[in-house]
Symmetry: C2
Subunit: 243 residues, 2 copies
């Protein structure tokens, strides 16, 4: 009986928690399929997987006074950053923000699944970052980059692009794909203390053949099988921009 208990406790200790922050309007899209594959593959491993389906939640992207319940610390001149920080400390943030913060807090790994919009995340996901990763929760000053409050957690960007892989090379028209990752991987995730795993980029699924799409899906599933053994990328200018 005791052995069974120990074995179960051991299995539970191993049970990793994953949050997928998912930003696509259409469940049958390629993004939707990548999300589904991730849920299935990680669940099979025994991971607990939570999905924040931002469009389905009609998630609010705008950072406004409505994010603070109760009185403001300075109602004369509204500063979102100051007020969100104070509200975080006093537990006066609005419930949709707090719900997301709890999911992040519990996660060992956060996967962001989205189509690239203007070399970045869609606005609905940018709003998730603006509002959820507030000072006092994700970082403080000091308390950022390697000292960010989310240190010990992993993050991974899983992106689909409109452009082809050739366009996103150093000599391509859109430049090395690493360039557009900088504000997200360094400026946001690393700033909050996350260790960042290599991005999963599915290039141009809309113009790819069915065979190529299946291949991209399979390589994502395969990668997730050994995701916990991966070494994070160095979030530094040399990795991004070369020497």
């Amino acid at each position: 009986m005791r052995d069974t208990y120990k074995a179960l406790a051991g299995a539970n200790r191993m049970r990793k928690k994953v949050l997928i922050v998912y930003a696509h309007q259409e469940p049958r899209s390629f993004n939707g399929c990548l999300k589904k594959v991730a849920v299935e593959t990680l669940s099979k491993q025994g991971c607990t997987v939570t999905v924040s389906d931002l469009y389905a939640m009609d998630f609010e992207p705008r950072a406004t006074r409505n994010d603070i319940t109760g009185a403001l610390s300075n109602p004369e001149v509204f500063s979102y950053g100051v007020e969100a920080y104070e509200a975080c400390k006093k537990r006066c943030l609005t419930s949709d923000i707090v719900d997301e913060q709890k999911k992040v807090q519990e996660a060992d790994l956060v996967i962001f699944q989205f189509p690239l919009y203007w070399f970045s995340v869609p606005a609905i996901l940018k709003g998730w970052m603006d509002r959820v990763l507030c000072q006092g929760f994700a970082f403080d000053l000091p308390g950022f980059y390697d000292s960010g409050f989310l240190k010990g957690k992993l993050a991974l960007l899983s992106i689909t692009t409109g452009g082809t892989a050739e366009m996103y090379t150093k000599t391509g028209v859109s430049g090395d794909f690493k360039y557009f990752l900088w504000p997200l991987q360094h400026g946001t995730l690393h700033f909050c203390g996350f260790k960042v795993l290599a991005p999963q980029i599915s290039f141009a699924p809309e113009t790819a053949s069915e065979e190529e799409r299946k291949q991209m899906m399979a390589s994502w599933a395969q990668r997730l099988e050994t995701i916990w053994k991966e070494v994070p990328i160095p979030c530094t200018p040399p990795w991004y921009f070369g020497q």
Copy 2:
């Protein structure tokens, strides 16, 4: 009489149109002051200045099916990019998008005034970019970068930061400020054909002295006096990342 007419016609030909896309919640903020100074300085020159005050407009940042009036071209599997492109061609985009497109169409210069959120624009402004600069209006495939549909227009990012100028240097913790400008200046503005003027970065106004804030405001006003004589920056990897 004819001379007076000619002189007036000449003045009108000179009358430049400026659109300021402004994303701050508080009119009395430093961003609000920079916007006000720009409106005043440019109006005094005889420019026609239009402001899109995104928070005051409660601008919708989410790219959804609601952006298309009438039937979808493929209601089975919703693709925002495809549907927005079709709707643009058939003049079936929702009116808030069309209103902004008209303002952009008329402008010689578009100034984006915003506080840096996570090395990028606030979500409400990202939503403006995602929704307003759609295929068919701002670009086509082909018809991007130097052939983007907004060629002949100028764009300028006027940004306030939380971090200091020292943090945004090549050896600073946040890296050269040019790095975070890449997705915005190259990936978005240049992609649409805009010629991009050097960014106006007001570093850390919240922690600056009153004197320093006045100085930043004055230098913005002074720059705008001769803005039409400026030469655009080269939106290429060497300008951003060195050789």
